[in-house]
């Protein structure tokens, strides 16, 4: 076979395609896959954050409900600090939600600047990974996950407040010492995945533009 015969062989696929396709199955599979893809994207983008925020909100609602129930039943006397704590809880959640929303908006705007070519698609993906990586150790990131830490501290404060015992540091510190290593391990694992992606995109760009 020479080069021209090779091209001719290649073109035979247009008249007689390599495969047949079950059209009915495709008609069923495409919209289903489309829905799965959207769900998965939403899960990846928002999942971790909303899970953290939702848990924090639920935790704060339950503990503050217990606190104000105890006050209304006359078990404990209300102080100004109860309302200050409630304000801190709500404020932290609002601040975190705004920080996350602004951060996503800014990045979405940046992503729109990329074109449709293969190279631009790789650069867009690289920029997504860089965006995730850039959030490590940033103030914005601390703000985003602040409700979790705040909910933990306020929950302990309410428990001590209801029990009438003075605030003891041992339990909260023990809890934080238990959570932090898991948090760090998860963060490192996630960062490793992101770096692997980054490496892969770098390789593809290198293949497109050797020596650049």
């Amino acid at each position: 076979m020479n080069f021209d015969q090779m091209l001719e062989t290649w073109r035979t696929q247009d008249k007689a395609p390599l495969y047949g396709v079950k059209r009915e199955l495709l008609r069923l599979e495409v919209p289903r896959d489309q829905a799965d893809l959207q769900r998965s994207l939403r899960r990846n983008t928002w999942g971790v954050y909303w899970a953290a925020l939702g848990t924090s909100v639920a935790c704060l609602v339950v503990f503050f409900a217990l606190l104000f129930a105890a006050i209304s039943w006359g078990d404990i006397t209300s102080t100004a600090w109860d309302y200050v704590a409630l304000g801190i809880g709500i404020g932290t959640i609002l601040l975190s939600a705004v920080a996350y929303w602004v951060s996503r908006k800014r990045h979405a705007l940046w992503e729109r600047g990329f074109g449709n070519s293969l190279q631009e698609e790789i650069r867009r993906n690289l920029s997504r990974v860089d965006y995730q990586l850039s959030r490590y150790g940033q103030l914005a990131s601390l703000l985003m996950y602040a409700p979790m830490w705040m909910a933990l501290i306020l929950s302990f404060w309410i428990v001590f407040r209801i029990s009438g015992k003075p605030f003891g540091w041992l339990l909260p510190v023990g809890c934080v010492l238990f959570i932090v290593p898991w948090w760090v391990m998860w963060s490192l694992w996630f960062k490793k995945q992101l770096l692997a992606y980054r490496h892969r995109f770098g390789q593809l760009l290198e293949l497109l533009n050797p020596g650049e």
Binding site: M1, V21, K22, L25, L26, L118, Q193, R200
Partner: protein, 169 residues
């Protein structure tokens, strides 16, 4: 765009250009199950892209662009999960395998599979007769860069042809 209209355009595109999807799936998928999976992923992305198509490029160029972008993203996912997939286990039965096999065509796909992922895209476009201009638009490279890469791919293929022609081709 209405869903019915989108479905209609998708059906028309699939009917006229399904060969592109088969070629990309065949070139990037190592097993039959991988090819089915990739074919399905590309079909989903083509369906997604219908609304964004403004008619500035030819439909074939557009579909190739979507298909190649998806193929590279799909490979990334496969690597991330690092799963070895079994043909029978993962096959959905979406694609019907051909009854007969063309050994020459198999040879071409084997040579394409030996290329790196970017060169594979270029080889497919070259074999389908795309101009350097179209290729540069799809890949986002300069035309001269495309020219250099295509010449290298051609040289590799010609050398392989010369080597293997005495044996089985």
């Amino acid at each position: 765009m209405l869903k019915a209209k989108r479905n209609q355009v998708f059906e028309e595109w699939m009917e006229a250009h399904k060969a592109i999807l088969f070629k990309v799936a065949r070139a990037y998928g190592a097993t039959h199950a991988d090819r089915e999976d990739l074919f399905q992923q590309i079909a989903v992305q083509v369906w997604n892209s219908v609304e964004a198509f403004r008619g500035e490029a030819k439909v074939t160029t557009w579909i190739y662009q979507v298909a190649l972008n998806t193929a590279l993203a799909w490979n990334r996912k496969e690597r991330k999960h690092g799963r070895g997939r079994q043909d029978l286990e993962a096959a959905t039965g979406l694609l019907i395998s051909p009854a007969g096999r063309d050994s020459r065509l198999e040879w071409i796909y084997e040579r394409i599979a030996e290329l790196d992922e970017v060169s594979r895209s270029l080889a497919l476009l070259m074999l389908d007769g795309f101009s350097y201009r179209d290729m540069s638009q799809i890949l986002g490279l300069s035309e001269s860069n495309v020219g250099v890469k295509i010449n290298r791919i051609k040289a590799t293929l010609i050398a392989q042809l010369a080597k293997d022609s005495n044996d089985e081709l």
